[in-house]
Amino acid sequence: MGAAGRLPVMRPRFDAGDRVSVLELGKPGHVRTPFYVRRREGVVLHRCGSYLNPEELSVGKVCGPVVPLYRVGFAMTDLWDDYRGSPADMLCLELYDHWLAPAAAAPLDGEPARDDEAFEHGGRP
């Protein structure tokens, strides 16, 4: 599945069930990782195949490599402190491999670093 063809292919590092952290890569341009999931933890729902990286595709780079894409689920209560709804409510979206890291084995002390300021005041999703 995906845009594989003869292009170089990155091996998927994650699979369904893996807990992952979303990195804050701070990249400009046609980035498909919304601010609201950066530095948050979620769980890989499934692999979606591999595609040309939209950050490169948007500036005409079509020689690859194709990058694995995953659907990742986040508990709404992990995304929004004041979320009103069921603790089972989830947000699911697609993230490219290079935006993900294995979730830390043990949670960090206290609250994870948050980027709400940037999101609310001009950090455009």
Binding site: M1, G2, A3, R32, T33, P34, Y36, C48, G49, Y51, P54, L69, R71, G73, M76, L79, W80, Y83, R84, G85, S86, A88, D89, M90, L91, C92, L93, E94, L95, Y96, P125
Partner: protein, 220 residues
């Protein structure tokens, strides 16, 4: 966009906080739409230089706008009457659509199924990604900033504004179409529809049910 009057000088630096891109799709006091003026100018140039033929743009728009929600409704109705098809649709939406002669132009179609304990809602927080090849062009509210941000932030409140109260004990799954996949909600088959044919069932399935802001009501 704010409703106060201001000189529309198009230097996007005029001291109040609206997004620089908004005027592209909002007409000014004279009824002009900035985006349309740009598109018309570009098209005139392309035609003058022989790169585009008159009518070609119109035909392309017609092609883009010809798919409609009736295509998605056919997939849903078939899934309701054929359990094997339903499983194939959930496993690989694009291939299952092709079985019915419905071409999905997007990379993949992920079909998410509502049931008694799960309600699915589709949005695109970053722009306006939408399964256009099976639902047509998205409604204006789908691409509004209010829907795009609030669907991810407070989906239950948004659904209530659409007239849908999801029970507290059911879970809400929001699908942000932020990258290459496109999403279709498979609604629950309504009570009272047991005797209906596949075509009649397709007639019950609305666009909003397949986005997830509504459900298919009981048949009386």
């Amino acid at each position: 966009m704010s409703d106060h009057d201001h000189a529309h000088d198009h230097d996007h630096d005029h001291g109040h906080g609206h997004d620089a891109h908004e005027p592209l799709v909002v007409e000014d006091d004279a009824g002009n739409i900035e985006g349309q003026i740009l598109v018309d100018a570009l098209q005139t140039l392309l035609v003058e230089r022989g790169l585009v033929f008159p009518g070609e743009v119109r035909r392309e728009i017609e092609r883009l706008e010809s798919p409609g929600a009736h295509l998605g409704a056919r997939l849903v109705a078939r899934a309701w009457v054929d359990d094997d098809y339903r499983r194939r649709l959930l496993a690989d939406g694009k291939s299952a659509a092709a079985e019915l002669g419905v071409g999905v132009g997007e990379a993949q179609l992920i079909v998410v199924e509502n049931d008694a304990t799960t309600h699915n809602l589709v949005c695109c927080t970053l722009c306006s990604c939408y399964p256009r090849s099976i639902l047509g062009q998205p409604p204006a509210w789908y691409i509004s900033k209010a829907y795009r941000s609030r669907a991810a932030r407070e989906p239950r409140a948004v659904l209530e504004e659409f007239g849908l109260k999801v029970p507290d004990e059911a879970r809400v799954l929001v699908h942000d179409s932020n990258a290459d996949m496109r999403y279709l909600v498979l609604p629950q088959r309504p009570a009272g529809s047991e005797a209906m044919s596949e075509d009649q069932l397709a007639g019950l399935v609305t666009r909003d049910c397949m986005i997830g802001v509504s459900v298919v009501g009981p048949v009386s």
